[in-house]
Symmetry: C2
Subunit: 254 residues, 2 copies
């Protein structure tokens, strides 16, 4: 799908994020990786470990976006209810996956270690395909466009790395960042005019303070390299016209 | 409302978070502060700077939760469209707020500095009340249960600090964390039984590796102090029974 815009949503599942106890890092990591793959992360949500919240979010997101990635709630304890909730969202039964059982059996020293709670980690919605977990073995799974991954960042990242080759991105988003010693309010009318003239470029303005003086980072993003360069040139000329000294990062990477 | 559960949602608005360019810190900060106020953050969303996405999220969230807090998109540039979108979500016109204009006038050295783009920062949905911005003056606003704040963390935090006295929390959530040198899978059946016996306590299990060995943090949360202590005692006894050496943080704070 090289010409299509491919979209994704991330669903972070976990009370610990919402209580402020744990600072989520999975969203930022996935945002960067999806961008590199030419997949546009379009929405993210954080919901609690409750069946109603997870089911409603999965149902809503899977209809709206090409890819959904969830993190959290796939361990062995009573608060790990993601697999059940995803099965419910897809209206399929939860089944014990034989290959997942085999992987768990291989991972525990004795049959007694693989207790019923741990065997729950082999439960997946009927029809799901496993997502490898090279670290702690208990797999994630994919059903439809929903990819269910662990919440522990190292495990989530390893799972995602294994998925990469299956994910089909669209045209890569190219980006340029221009830092300038001007307040964004000074450039706003001119920036808006450049944005109107280049609708295929997404122009973002991010104010910051630098040594107590207002400055701004202007970020230009587009899948169209020529349009991007044209808009960057217009922004640089505008900044110089207004007496600014822009610093262009010169790269046009995602 | 001391006996009521008071809920909140956070809506983070900004392409820069979804592209991975900027790591959001506002959600984690708000999560912690709301918890301290006895307000339960129940959902968070991140959406792009597009009118449709913001309007849909605000409409949905304002019906579901007691308080909504948005961050981002209230500056002077073309990509700052939060005020317009919130007006649309409430189906009221966007109006120029006289007191907001006065604050902006007081903040700029000359009338020429307060250009039309900057004056846009005085536009709010009809009927909105201003939220003070002690740092860069351009105010946020509240309409209904929706509090619209800046995206720059220092400004957002200052705005929230000014709001605190207006926010009415419910019973404070008390929490205890118990670290133990046991894998969560070993304790899972027992934890589930303790959870069943104490439905008014929310028991979360968070696996971690410590010096290459599995361990876990069990977090118990409740608005009911006696129920919390009972469940903590049950968890400690269970861990010792299983040969673990639990370390209880001993505190019962939010």
């Amino acid at each position: 799908m090289p010409d299509k815009v491919v979209t994704a949503a991330v669903l972070v599942i976990g009370n610990e994020i919402l209580s402020g106890r744990t600072r989520d890092t999975n969203l930022a990591w996935l945002a960067g990786e999806l961008t590199k793959l030419g997949i546009r992360l379009t929405e993210a949500r954080v919901v609690a470990d409750t069946q109603g919240a997870i089911v409603a979010a999965v149902r809503d997101l899977k209809e709206k976006y090409d890819y959904i990635f969830t993190t959290g709630g796939i361990g062995p304890t009573h608060d790990d209810i993601t697999a059940e909730a995803v099965a419910m969202a897809f209206e399929v039964p939860l089944v014990r996956h034989p290959e997942a059982v085999r992987r768990l059996e291989a991972n525990y020293a004795t049959p007694a270690d693989l207790n019923e709670a741990r065997l729950r980690m082999a439960n997946v919605p009927d029809g799901a395909a496993l997502i490898d977990n090279p670290i702690s073995k208990a797999p994630g799974f994919r059903i439809g466009n929903v990819h269910v991954m662990a919440g522990v960042p190292a495990i989530m990242q390893a799972m995602f790395d294994g998925l990469r080759s299956e994910l089909v991105g669209g045209r890569k988003m190219l980006a340029r960042t221009i830092d300038v010693d001007l307040a964004e309010g000074v450039m706003a009318a001119e920036l808006a005019a450049i944005q109107r003239a280049a609708p295929e470029v997404e122009i973002g303005s991010y104010p910051r303070m630098r040594q107590g003086r207002p400055s701004a980072a202007i970020v230009l993003r587009s899948v169209d390299g020529a349009a991007l360069v044209g808009a960057v040139d217009a922004v640089l000329a505008m900044m110089r016209e207004l007496g600014g000294a822009p610093r262009d990062d010169g790269s046009a990477t995602a």
